[in-house]
Structures are given as C-alpha cells and as structure tokens.
C-alpha cells in the first residue's frame, strides 16, 4: 500500500479532498458537538439562553464555569445508583450474549460449508428488519397471557425469577429487570454472533488436528486453542454489545420498569421532560467518561484488524 500512496500523491489535490472532506465533516458534526456538550454542561442556564462561559468583563477574561451539576451527580445517590445499574445491566447482557452467542457462532462455523452462507443470512435477516418492532413484539410475548409468559409459568420458572428478584410479582413478567435483560440480550445477540463467527470461521482446523495428534482431548483443544485464538472476536463482540448497552434508551423504555434504572432514560428525561439541558449534558459527559476505556479498546481492535488485513 505504501507504493500506491506514492502514486496518489501525484494528484495531491485529489488526496486533500479524499481525506479532507470526511475529516472536516466529522470534526464539524462529531467532535464539535461533543465540545459543545462539554461547554453546556458547565454553563449557567438563564431561562432558555446559556450564559457565556468565557466573557470579557472590564477588560479581563472571565471564566464562569458552573460545576454544580457535576458535584450534584457525584453526590446524589440516585444518579450514582443509575450509572452503576446501567453498567451492571450492560455487563450482564454482554456475558449472556457471550454465553449464548459463542456456542451459536461456534456451531455455525463448524457446520457444512455449503450451509454456512444460509445460516449467516438467517442471522442477518432479523437484523435487517426493524429492531424497534421486534422489541415491541416482546411486549406481547411477555405480557399477560403472552406466549413466553405462559411458557415460563408452565415451566414454573416464574417462582425462580421471583426468588431471584428479577420480577416483582408472580406471573407479571413485563416491565421488570427480567424483561429488560431479555430484550437487550435479544437485540444485541447478532452483534455478538457476527464478529465471533467471522473469527471462528477463519480458524485453521488443522491446528485442532495437530493438538489432538499431540494428545489433547477435544475439551482441552477447545479451551487451549480455539478460545484463545478467538480472543479478538470475543473482544470485538463484547465491545459491540457493552458500549451501546450502557446508554441504551429504547429497550428500557419499552420493556423496563420503575425498578430498572438506566442512564439513557435519565438523559432523555432530563432533556425532554425537565428541559434541563446543562444537566442532560453533564449526564452525557459522565457517560462518555464511563465508556472511554472500552471505547479505546474497541478502536484499538479496529485498527489492529485493519493492520492484519494489509
């Protein structure tokens, strides 16, 4: 690729456009908004107008930064609990998606080669149909007399869920932590399966044969060879599930309840219901800080994946 870039630099103004246009666009519509959110989170709100952060008073530059929102967030129990709860739900969803999705992707990758494109397409098909509608469908499935509700009651699992504190009352599965987790796992499962499948299907099966030849049992070969080699897929899938789940709004709104504290809803309410833009901004900034580390991990994985292909 080094050779090609030397070629393209001849038409140097072509290069400027190719890089410059998307770059400027992203700076304007992605980075700048973040900076504005940052600014507003520390601004004083007067009615509907923001007082300027930087003002010129008597010839001196004054920085008026209102940190009270941040202070409030860190001190308020409810906000703290909501952040923790969001991270917890995201983590639980990620783990469940991994537990369900890994064997799924594994068996997909081990299926007959002619069958695999069809299997892949069948996983993608729900992804292409509206996720909103499918989440909405769970309202029916888990509601009164819904199919899944009936099934759970018939299997006596409602007692188990009640005991675990996942549902509030017997027979009522909607608007509970249980329904929220089901909804989130359902929605994000394909995001876990696809990177895992991509990784596992490219694995050289002869490595497993070599391991067996050297005396490893299938179980050992799986844990010592397959799993470590699929590490990249596991990380990619986990990040693709965890990060968006932290700030998820639609699913908690449709399937969650008063028990399920999610920071996405808090942000929405602060903005739409309370009209408190600085507060909403503060909530957003803290959320970004929370996901900064996984975000960096994800970015590094993307860059590494690109390096490997070249």
């Amino acid at each position: 690729m080094r050779r090609l870039s030397a070629l393209w630099t001849w038409l140097s103004h072509g290069r400027t456009v190719v890089i410059g246009l998307p770059y400027l666009w992203l700076l304007a519509f992605f980075l700048a908004p973040f900076l504005i959110v940052l600014k507003i989170s520390v601004s004083e709100m007067e009615g509907v107008v923001f007082k300027d952060v930087l003002t010129l008073k008597e010839g001196l530059l004054q920085l008026t930064v209102k940190l009270s929102n941040y202070v409030f967030i860190t001190q308020d129990d409810l906000y703290f609990a909501t952040y923790v709860s969001s991270v917890k739900y995201a983590a639980v969803t990620t783990v469940l998606c991994l537990a369900i999705g890994y064997p799924f992707a594994y068996f997909m990758a081990r299926a007959k080669a002619t069958l695999q494109p069809a299997l892949l397409m069948l996983v993608m098909l729900p992804f292409w149909t509206s996720f909103l509608l499918r989440v909405y469908a769970w309202k029916g499935l888990l509601g009164e007399n819904g199919w899944v509700s009936e099934l759970l009651i018939a299997l006596r699992l409602d007692h188990v869920l009640l005991a675990a504190g996942l549902i509030a009352a017997e027979g009522k599965f909607m608007n509970t932590p249980f329904s929220l987790v089901v909804g989130m796992v359902y929605t994000y499962l394909p995001f876990m399966i696809l990177p895992l499948y991509a990784n596992l299907s490219k694995m050289d099966l002869r490595l497993l044969e070599a391991a067996q030849d050297l005396g490893a049992t299938p179980a050992t070969a799986f844990w010592k060879i397959t799993v470590p080699l699929s590490k990249a897929g596991i990380i990619a899938g986990s990040m693709l599930v965890f990060i968006p789940c932290v700030g998820e709004f639609v699913i908690p709104e449709l399937l969650g309840g008063p028990q399920t504290l999610m920071i996405g809803r808090v942000l929405w309410d602060e903005f739409f219901s309370n009209n408190d833009w600085p507060m909403a901004s503060t909530v957003a900034v803290v959320m970004v800080l929370l996901i900064l580390v996984p975000l960096a991990l994800f970015n590094r994985y993307q860059a590494q994946a690109q390096e490997k292909r070249t």
Binding site: A210, D213, L254, F298
Partner: protein, 287 residues
Amino acid sequence: MTARRTFFGASFARRFGLGWLGAGYLFLYLPIIALVIYSFNDSPIPSVWSGFTLKWYAALPADREMVGGLWLSLQIAFFTACGSVVLGTLAAFALVKYRRFTGRTLFSGMVNAPLVMPEVIVGLSLLLMLVSVQRALGFPERGMLTIWLGHLLLGMAYATVVIQARLQDLNPQLEEAAMDLGARPHQVFYLVTLPMIAQALFSAWLLTFTISLDDVVLSAFLSGPGSTTMPLVIFSRARLGVNPSVNAMATVIIAVVAIGVLTASYLIARAERQRALAMAAAQRAGG
C-alpha cells in the same frame, strides 16, 4: 492427516450443536412470528385470539400518521444512504490508501465511534450544536434536514466499515496495471476501482438505508414539529401498549425485507456457483 481419536461423542456434539442452533434461531425469530400472527388477530388484545381478520391492514392506508411517517422515513433513508455511501467511500479510501497522515488516529477513531456510541449521546450533542448554529445563523430549523444529518453520521460509520473491507481485499496490481496502460488516476478510479467495489457500495447503501429507516433515538432528538418519522410514530404508540396497527405495519415491513434479502441471497449464491463452475471448466480445458 487423520486424527487418531475421533471427537468424544461426535454424534453428541453434533446433536448438541443442532439443538443449540435450533433454539437460538427460534429465539431470534419468535418475536417476528408473533408479530405476524397477531397482525391477523381480530381482537386488539394480543393475548386473546378472536378470529382471523385483515382489518388492521385495511386500516393502514387511512392511517395518516403512519403513512406520513413512512413516507418521511423513506425519503430520509434514501438521502442518508446516498450521502453515507459517498462519505463512506471517501473515508474508506483515506484509511486504506494513505498509510500516514496527520491526525490519522483521531480520524479513524471518529469514523468508528458512531458504531458503538450510545445514540442518546450522539443525538444530544448533535442537537445542542445545531441549536447553537441556529441561534447564530438563523438556520437550520429542526426537521428533515437535521434528522438526515444525524442519520448520516451513523450511516457513514457503517458504510466505511463495509467499503473499507472490500477495498483492502482489492489487488493493488490492478490499479497499477491500469495506470501502466495509460489511465490517469481519476480514470483508474472510474474504470477499474469503482466497478470492483460496486457490490460493496450497494451493500453499504442498503445497510445504511435500513439503519436510517429504523432509527428512533437520533430521530427523536433531531426532529421538529411536523417531522415525525415512522419509528417515532410506532414508538409513541408502543409506549402506550400493544397496538394491532403496529403489528400490521410490522408484517408489511418484515415481508418486504424478507423477500428482498432472500432474493438477493439467492441471486448472489447462484452467481457464485456459476462463477465457480466457469473457473473449474477453464482449468480442466487447460491451455
């Protein structure tokens, strides 16, 4: 090389695998099946089946809110897809062709971030910026344009991933050969590169179209009076409870998408098979 030992309980593993796959697919498709079935339910309460009916479908065209929302969403999705493919192609080229340029890590980070960033954050930040711009310049008003901008941000991330993957697999000698034969750089792009990534561009277009059509959060933050997209209509109705009109709309969408995806998959599979046959025949004929 033959393994000295067969996998322990190979048939067990196979059956277990089939079982797991089967249960997984059932889990994935259960809501879809439920949606479709209950769209034909005479009773508005989904838990009670009171007979087969098409009345909810009949009521759809008259449902001005839903139809209006659909029309708006289709328009926005179309423009989002077009814009995303253009921006995504540029970004993919920038990342694949130019190994080193100032601020490359920032660029790559910004391109990839919308893929995972919670939409509430993206929506909020974009809206606040647009409001600031509106205060300063008097435009843009919140509406179709602002929704389109938000969807474009998200779509560009997805489009870049798809197109970048295809670009990286391209044999660089093809473009060199074109130049060697006298094609100038822009001719190389139009005559050689573009035809070869055409399929990826199409996939990216469809993908971003779907994502835009389905988006709730960004649309909610960025819409204005009179610009209610279809997902927003569905969302507000869904919040209130289960609503058969939603089921009917859902089934229509599912049917269209399913037919589209299945047809495309079939056509692609057939093309691949024909191609493989042609290659095999050529090898056998030799020469």
